[in-house]
Symmetry: C2
Subunit: 142 residues, 2 copies
């Protein structure tokens, strides 16, 4: 098969052929199915992808811990998957989820609780939607 | 500075300290500011990040072409950035954009035009919001 036929297959076909990177991962974006807010960006290996599809709950692969990880297994803040989509080149996944509580390990609803702003003294961050829904010291110290 | 103090700085501070991976990139998710739909997942190097902040238009770094790339420079389908956010560990960027036309090089509004579904014969894709807004052959053959 020629390279262009293969690209056409991946982009226009209906076969599920996720393209893992050299570490065996695809990028995954989870958004709140209600508000459209981006909750988190994480990674999935083949097993996380298969478990997510099979169970309807989000599983990820932690690069820092080199471990498969069911979202919420420690914190109880699970993600129920309402829809899963794959992008054109099949190397990124979009999950529309119902998030229990907070997606971020810092206790915020979303990991994206800081805005990037160009200021006079250079680029700065400012807090946005940064209220904590839980205290990470309590949740992760068990 | 201890590792935990450093992590606290990155997660709770307001200094802009993007954490680039070994290829010098951060992951970037662009969503439609109106609908919340995920339009695309791409990458930015330091220059793309700085140009996006300075111009208010999305710039990316193409891994396949190893080149800085102003979104829409060939297709005219530009992205005006209404808000930029950074995640907890500062290695992922969320752009809320006004998308001119289609974000995907295949001519679709979003790159995520296929749903992943568990079926009897295994996992399959199905088209969703897959209408083309432009013909890629016409747009990219110039």
């Amino acid at each position: 098969m020629s390279a262009s036929a293969d690209i056409n297959d991946i982009e226009e076909g209906l076969a599920f052929r996720p393209k893992f990177d050299s570490s065996g991962l695809v990028t995954c974006v989870a958004t709140d199915a209600g508000s459209g807010e981006v909750l988190m960006v994480a990674h999935m290996n083949d097993e996380a992808l298969r478990k997510t599809i099979a169970t309807g709950e989000a599983w990820y692969f932690s690069r820092s811990r080199s471990a498969l990880w069911r979202k919420g297994e420690t914190s109880g803040q699970t993600q129920r998957v309402l829809e899963m989509r794959l992008d054109c080149d099949q190397d990124a996944v979009w999950l529309r989820v119902e998030q229990t509580g907070a997606a971020c390990h810092t206790g915020r609803r979303s990991c994206f609780y800081r805005r990037v702003e160009a200021g006079e003294g250079g680029t700065q961050l400012s807090f946005a939607d940064a209220d904590r829904l839980f205290d990470p010291k309590q949740v992760y110290s068990k």
